[in-house]
């Protein structure tokens, strides 16, 4: 093998960089997300599992339907009508951005740009 030393050093550096997230977080002082749903209502517009995995898709679909197709019909769950809107619909029940949205988004390190333009409703617990 040519340049044994160089190759091995390079490989070692590569492995360290690739595994960086694992040993960086290995300290164990990990904070697990615990989003709070601040409402007495039992049912969301979709089943819990779907909302957990695909709420972003639902929001994008609502957005396109409302903005592009002008379809502002409301979603009815248990006789309650909800607007198909993040600000005026979702946040009606999930009143706190910090305790609901940010909890998981921070954990997974994602930064949706919803609130760059839309207004966060006044937080009242």
């Amino acid at each position: 093998m040519y340049d044994k030393g160089k190759v091995l050093t390079g490989l070692a550096i590569f492995v360290i960089i690739v595994t960086f997230p694992i040993w960086y977080n290995a300290s164990g002082s990990e904070h697990y997300p615990n989003p709070k749903i601040l409402t007495k209502v039992k049912d969301c517009v979709m089943p819990l599992a779907y909302m957990r995995s695909s709420h972003m898709k639902l929001l994008v679909d609502w957005r396109d339907e409302v903005l592009r197709d002008g379809n502002r019909t409301k979603v009815t769950v248990d006789g309650v009508k909800y607007q198909r809107s993040l600000q005026d619909g979702c946040m009606y029940c999930h009143k706190s951005k910090t305790k609901f949205c940010d909890e998981c988004h921070k954990y997974v390190g994602t930064e949706p740009y919803c609130w760059d333009c839309h207004f966060v409703p006044k937080e009242t617990d």
Binding site: R63, D64, L67, R68, D69, G70, Y113, D116, H118, F119
Partner: protein
Amino acid sequence: MDVKRRKFLKIAGLSAVAGLAAPSAFNLLLNKGEALATEGRSGAKSEAHGEKSGETSRQYGMVIDLERLQRSPGLAEKCIHACNTEHNIPQYNNPKDEIKWIWLDDYRHSFPEHSQYKKNTALAKLPVVLLCNHCAHPPCVRACPTKATFKNSDGVVMMDYHRCIGCRFCMAACPYGARSFNWRRPREKDANGKYKFFPDGVNPEFPMRMRGVVEKCNFCAKRTLAGRLPACVEACGDSKALVFGDINDPKSEISQVLKAKYTIQRKPAAGTEPSVFYII
């Protein structure tokens, strides 16, 4: 023989694929073009998920009576202010960053294609309310590479701020200077936590925009869907200086006004068929 057969099969297969794919691709193009070309004459069509509406579809429009606006001083400013606060239009106070949806200019510059030769100089100075024309054949919609700007089923030229990539092709395409770009972040706050560019406060019901997207008048699409009048029209009260409605509906108030009065449009030679009309 095998070699020949293979070759034949290859050629046959390729031509089949080409034969199937080419016409459909071609049709797609043709239909797009045709739809664009006939859009205005047969009424508006939605550019949103590709569905087309028939002849009966709406085309919202506006008649702006400059004489009535002249008669009540301050009314135009009131309309503009109503829009600015409704839609959170930032006030940068410099022409480089400026954003405007509805604004005032004089007749000479609003209708530069109209000759001022030997004409009454008072006319040149007449204030004119300007806004997006919501054209029947909008060049901006034609230019947009992502359909971020599109015509909705009410004939309104809409902006999808979530999709806009900020290429500003629509700004080059618009013959009316109706489009503004967010050269910077409008939501900046000062040291006291106050919004820097919204001296009159903000309307939490309507989103702001992010830097790097184009924006313009949306004929208050959110309000009209809820059965309300656009903010500028509402601000005019009963003055009838601004009349709003469906210009494709012969029974609408605006159609009656258009039938009764002589109106002009900005730059008709551009072939865009503007939906905003002026009574001088």
